[in-house]
């Protein structure tokens, strides 16, 4: 199980994809709209995600 957190949602997903990009795509999340961090470190879209990882997503577009 992987925890994906964002400003607008917080969900646990099963590990189906191998990379961040695949994981987000499978969960209908457009990776262009977010910067992703794992344990406080930026990660790229091709980063392999492991079971138990907690991914935080930060929106790119500001709402001002």
């Amino acid at each position: 199980m992987i925890l994906i957190e964002s400003r607008d949602f917080n969900k646990k997903v099963k590990l189906k994809g191998k990379t961040l990009e695949e994981l987000l795509t499978e969960n209908s999340i457009n990776s262009d709209n977010f910067i992703a961090m794992r344990n406080g470190k930026l990660i790229t879209r091709d980063e392999k995600i492991r079971d138990g990882d907690s991914i935080k997503l930060f929106p790119v577009i500001s709402g001002g």
């Binding site: 400003r7 262009d32 910067i35 961090m37 470190k41 930026l42 990660i43 790229t44 879209r45 091709d46 980063e47 930060f58 929106p59 790119v60 577009i61 500001s62 709402g63 001002g64």
Partner: protein, 299 residues
């Protein structure tokens, strides 16, 4: 994916440059581009007093952080428009950041200056973004002038700039476009403080990444009045193009920068000397400035 400079694991991609960087080299590249925008465009130097317009959002906070870090003579200005649940959240964040970093902060409010708030303006049925844009610009200019700033730095990023360029092109607003650029405005008058944009070459995605890596605090709650349907369409189209053809935003900005002197030269002929508004004395092309016109319409 590996860092282009050191070969370590990459933290961020820059598809438009066909490169990726680790956190350390990303910060180096980001800061160098920021500094280059300032020096190449001669926006200001260390002798100038730079008023920094902040909102508490990622762009203005990164800009304030960097200018302060690089040793520029900065003072921050925040405008309290009077939007409940929005500005009252970012104000404490900006105050705390400025106090911790020993940056002088000036707070100007619609309430004090215009005897109204954006909440009240909206209740009267006015379009929030139009009124807010005009009144905010007016107040930022006044605040920068009050503190005797040489320039007013605003946090427009690459995405804002390219959206603005395309929106003005699509609407045939070439006069307006001719006033855009790294330094905003064609008017040379001591009542007008030139606005400068040190972040105009930084994609907003990278501003978020930089804020996260450096721990720059920012507020990302949405303005309750934010309804920018046209801008949203242009943004979506640009983002779609950028994903498919990385580099279109930078290309758009660089093309505009090459056209800008021609546009400015052309429309200089049409630009008369500005008048002083007969209501408030601020600069205007007509008899009464837009801010006074808008405020009057609310009575």
């Amino acid at each position: 994916m590996k860092c282009f400079k050191c070969g370590k694991k990459a933290a961020i991609e820059m598809p438009y440059a066909a490169k990726a960087y680790c956190e350390n080299h990303f910060m180096e590249v980001f800061e160098r581009r920021f500094k280059r925008t300032i020096t190449m465009n001669k926006l200001f130097d260390k002798r100038d007093k730079v008023a920094v317009g902040v909102s508490g959002g990622k762009d203005s906070m990164v800009m304030l952080f960097l200018l302060n870090k690089m040793g520029y003579n900065v003072e921050a200005i925040i405008i309290d428009e009077g939007i409940r649940g929005y500005r009252d959240k970012s104000l404490p964040l900006v105050k705390k950041f400025c106090a911790e970093n020993k940056i002088t902060l000036h707070i100007y409010s619609f309430e004090k200056e215009f005897k109204t708030t954006l909440d009240k303006i909206v209740k009267k049925g006015a379009l929030p973004c139009s009124y807010c844009g005009v009144l905010r610009r007016r107040l930022l200019n006044k605040a920068a002038r009050d503190i005797k700033a040489d320039v007013l730095a605003i946090g427009h990023n690459l995405d804002d700039e390219t959206q603005m360029i395309l929106m003005n092109l699509f609407r045939s607003e070439l006069i307006r476009l001719s006033r855009a650029g790294p330094t905003v405005g064609l008017v040379d008058d001591n009542k007008f403080v030139h606005r400068v944009k040190p972040l105009r070459e930084s994609p907003e995605r990278e501003n978020v990444a930089y804020a996260l890596v450096k721990g720059v605090p920012y507020e990302d709650i949405e303005c309750p009045y934010s309804k920018t349907a046209y801008r949203d369409s242009v943004r979506d189209a640009l983002n779609c193009l950028e994903t498919k053809h990385p580099g279109v935003k930078a290309g758009c900005l660089h093309s505009f920068d090459k056209l800008m002197p021609i546009l400015r030269d052309h429309y200089k002929k049409e630009k008369g000397k500005p008048n002083e508004c007969k209501e408030c004395g601020e600069l205007t092309s007509g008899e009464v400035c837009k801010a006074c016109e808008m405020l009057k319409s609310l009575l």
